[in-house]
């Protein structure tokens, strides 16, 4: 007997696979990106089915939302260039397809041969949740048990923004997306709401699905809108502030991690009394950093170079 939900799962899975294939097959670049966004959203849905709402939220906000925006911006930049036909049947292609199919089959075989849910750390997490300072297990893992991973992940963002700033310079401006008055108005209306949602997500992260990344993504969306609508134009003078915002999450996180390491405590070992507040502070600051960084990644270049070029032009 097949459960209705399982049927839903099956259909959803098939849709995900089909759309994933579509990303590769569709000739039109815009369609491809749209396809990808849909794929992301369906994946997020699937993850909700798999009892992973935090992840779904993050995927929807960052994996799909921010990424989609980045892709569209790039597409706009590349506009005028026709995408080469994605798939041409050549010998190499067939060989690749066959090999990848075999790898996939092997993967599926291995997956089916491995029991699901056999082993995990949920027991340990539950045991230590109380000591972690937060109630939501995912947040506990992110900001306490595996805080080092999270720190390094923020570092990855920092690396990305440094790298992007270092490479993207002097680009003549891509034509700005044509955004009507309606959009601008919508943006103005939505902005305060989005800020509030972001902050809420951050706060709620301590006890329920949500947290720094999701909140950061929402705040980043605010930034994106500001940038798109030219409500905010990055100026050279803002560079210093921008740099501070980018690094403050990393810096604070690292500083706290090191600072707590005294009196016999290890690095990242928050004093039990201050664990919650420390985590909250870190999360808040990291959220701001993430938001600013994501927005900067979208904007894509250091303000100074552009301004110099533009004033000359």
């Amino acid at each position: 007997m097949i459960d209705a939900l399982v049927l839903f799962d099956l259909v959803l899975a098939l849709a995900i696979i089909g759309i994933a294939a579509g990303v590769l097959i569709l000739r039109d670049a815009f369609a491809m990106i749209v396809c990808f966004v849909i794929f992301g959203l369906l994946s997020a849905l699937a993850w909700v089915r798999l009892a992973a709402p935090d992840v779904a939220l993050a995927e929807a906000a960052i994996g799909t939302g921010v990424t989609g925006a980045l892709l569209l911006k790039t597409l706009a930049h590349l506009r005028g260039r026709t995408l080469s036909p994605p798939l041409r049947v050549k010998g190499g292609l067939v060989v690749n397809a066959a090999l990848c199919a075999l790898v996939t089959l092997a993967g599926i075989g291995v997956f089916l041969a491995t029991p699901i849910g056999g082993a995990g750390l949920e027991g340990l997490v539950a045991q230590n949740l109380a000591a972690s300072g937060v109630a939501h297990p995912v947040t506990a893992v992110l900001l306490n048990f595996r805080a080092f991973d999270t720190l390094m992940e923020v570092v990855v963002l920092l690396v990305a923004v440094v790298a992007v700033w270092s490479m993207e310079r002097g680009i003549a401006r891509a034509p700005a997306p044509v955004m009507g008055e309606v959009y601008a108005g919508f943006a103005r209306l939505v902005l305060p709401a989005a800020v509030i949602v972001g902050a809420y997500l951050l706060w709620i992260g301590a006890i329920a699905p949500g947290g720094a990344f999701q909140g950061g993504a929402v705040l980043a969306a605010v930034g994106l809108m500001l940038l798109i609508t030219r409500a905010y134009t990055p100026l050279p003078a803002h560079r210093g502030a921008a740099r501070i915002v980018f690094v403050i999450g990393t810096a604070l996180f690292a500083a706290v991690a090191l600072f707590v390491a005294q009196g016999g405590r290890a690095t990242f070992e928050y004093p039990a009394a201050h664990a919650k507040s420390l985590i909250l502070i870190i999360e808040a600051v990291v959220t701001i950093s993430i938001a600013a960084t994501l927005a900067a990644l979208f904007h894509g270049r250091e303000p100074v170079a552009v301004s110099v070029r533009e004033t000359r032009a």
Partner: protein, 582 residues
């Protein structure tokens, strides 16, 4: 005192030769060369028998003087002195005088030294010094003829030296000591004796090893010819006397060859010699012929050790006789070329008759004395050979007479050219020439005075064992070697040897070059093509998936192998080790 004299005999000529390096001393050296052999002469005449050991020098050096060496030293020193005196005039104004006198003195050092040497090392060293230094004397004229003679000479010298090296090496191992006295007492193997005889026979000019001798004597300037013929070829004889166990052990095979060679040498040299155009070459062949006589004595000694005690004095006497007479003849030839005017020429010619007659064996001359003594001494030896030897000795007088006649004829027709300076003042040549003539004449009288202990002769038995076939082979070989050596020359000979080798090499080179070129082309093309192909097909990317599959496949394979091999399938795969941080 005698130690100092021993040293001085060798050191004086060597020091003079060394002094020739200094440009300032060169003229003086030429002038003083005449005194260089005098210490040796004094040593020979007055010093008591002595020996001196210097273990630190070379590999242990012993020099000394015994009765045989005393005689050799005496006549060699006289000859060297006479030649030096001649050279003093002869070389004046010659552009290469310094080179000549240096070589002359070095050869003198070698010659005198080897007579004094009592061990194989120093003997060999000085023998080589003499031989190699003489090269400079032979090629002194710098003419094509001289160079040809020089090449021939040096080729034979090197071959002879190598034979000597091997012979001395083997002999001293067999004797267990490098001292020549021990060599003489040891029973040497046939091989080492053959090597020694061969090595010394080159110097002695016994056929078929004589080819170098006439051209060299012909090419060298007069004073050099005199010592080459008078003193240096005797060094070969001296070598045999001092290194072979003569009188102790019989070597019949060697003796046979030696006797045969001697017999052939006496007459063949005469026959060839009479066809020569140059008086000095004729004299050279005469020397060869005379050495044939000496070879008969040696051969007899090798055949019958018992006869050696009587043969030895005779052989030594013959050597001294020939040295003085031939020296006189060479110097006379030079003199003849130097004087101008018919009267002077006739006078010189008359003076020349004396040594010539002595060589031919005219009654009462040293030559006749020597031959008769040899005949009687031979009778104590092998009976088989005796009639032949007697006949040969008898006939040798005929041959020598012929040669002397030819010498006189050619001398008259085309006397050897003398340098302009000598022509102008030939008087400086008179004393050495006449001195040698005189010494040659009075040799029979003075002989017993110098070395009384061996100045006697004995009569022995007779034997005969003709080996004409062997002689024929020797002659044939001689002819071949001669044709080859004279016809092609050393350089061409070497090229002949190496030519096929070189051709093969160039062939291989060319082939490998071609091959290398095509390989290099391929080496450049194939990687380029491969990398282009790999890039255009994006093989690197494909490899990612392929490798994943490969590793999975291999992993599965291994898992199966392990699973089949053991009851517990998994643990083997993980290296089961205690984790260090646990």
């Amino acid at each position: 005192m005698s130690d100092i004299m021993l040293y001085a005999a060798i050191a004086v000529p060597l020091a003079l030769a060394g002094a020739a390096i200094l440009p300032a001393a060169r003229a003086l050296v030429l002038r003083l060369a005449v005194i260089a052999p005098l210490p040796a002469l004094a040593l020979a005449l007055v010093a008591p028998p002595s020996a001196l050991s210097e273990p630190w020098l070379i590999m242990g050096t012993v020099i000394g003087l015994d009765s045989v060496s005393r005689i050799f030293l005496a006549f060699s020193a006289i000859l060297w002195a006479a030649a030096a005196a001649t050279a003093r005039r002869w070389m004046r104004g010659d552009g290469h005088a310094t080179g000549f006198i240096t070589c002359f003195l070095l050869a003198m050092t070698g010659n005198i030294g080897l007579i004094l040497a009592q061990d194989a090392f120093s003997f060999y060293a000085l023998f080589a010094l003499m031989s190699f230094a003489s090269f400079g004397l032979v090629v002194h004229a710098r003419s094509d003829k001289a160079y040809r003679a020089g090449r021939l000479y040096i080729g034979f010298v090197v071959a002879g030296e190598l034979a000597l090296f091997a012979g001395l090496l083997l002999a001293s191992r067999e004797a267990g000591s490098p001292l020549l006295a021990d060599l003489r007492m040891a029973e040497l193997s046939g091989l080492s004796v053959a090597l020694l005889i061969g090595g010394f026979a080159v110097k002695l000019g016994i056929m078929p090893l004589h080819f170098w001798l006439p051209p060299a004597h012909g090419a060298a300037p007069v004073p050099a010819s005199a010592v080459l013929s008078g003193a240096m070829i005797k060094a070969g004889l001296f070598g045999m006397l001092s290194s072979l166990p003569l009188g102790l052990h019989a070597y019949p095979d060697h003796a046979t060859v030696m006797l045969a060679a001697g017999l052939v040498t006496i007459f063949a040299a005469a026959l060839i010699g009479v066809r020569e155009e140059s008086p000095k070459a004729v004299l050279g062949f005469s020397s060869v012929s005379q050495m044939g006589i000496i070879a008969l004595g040696l051969g007899a000694g090798l055949m019958a050790p018992a006869a050696w005690t009587v043969l030895l004095p005779v052989v030594v006497f013959l050597a001294a006789h020939h040295a003085l007479a031939k020296g006189a003849l060479f110097l006379g030839a030079g003199m003849f070329g130097a004087v101008t005017g018919l009267r002077a020429r006739i006078l010189v010619m008359l003076a020349l008759i004396l040594p010539a007659a002595a060589l031919a064996g005219l009654t009462a001359t040293s030559g006749a004395l020597g031959k008769e003594a040899l005949k009687s001494a031979l009778e104590t030896g092998s009976a088989d050979w005796l009639p032949w030897l007697i006949a040969a000795l008898t006939l040798s007088g005929v041959a020598t007479t012929l040669l002397m006649a030819r010498f006189a004829h050619t001398l008259w027709k085309q006397a050897p050219g003398a340098p302009e300076m000598v022509r102008a003042q030939p008087d400086g040549l008179v004393v050495p020439f006449l001195g040698l003539v005189a010494l040659s004449a009075i040799l029979p009288a003075t002989w017993p005075l110098i070395v009384p202990e061996i100045a006697f002769a004995v009569i022995a038995d007779k034997t005969a064992d003709p080996l004409p076939i062997l002689v024929g082979i020797v002659i044939a070989l001689a002819a071949i070697i001669r044709a080859h050596a004279l016809g092609i020359g050393v350089q061409a000979f070497i090229q002949g040897i190496t030519a096929p080798f070189l051709a093969l090499r160039s062939h291989i080179d060319a082939a490998s070059r071609r091959r290398a070129r095509s390989l290099r082309r391929a080496a450049h093309r194939i990687p380029a093509m491969l990398s282009q192909r790999a890039e255009s097909l994006r093989l690197g990317q494909t490899a990612i998936a392929a490798l994943i599959l490969a590793v999975i496949a291999v992993g599965m394979l291994e898992m199966r192998n392990v699973g089949a091999g053991s009851a517990a399938p998994m643990p083997e795969l993980g290296i089961d080790m205690p984790q260090p941080w646990d």
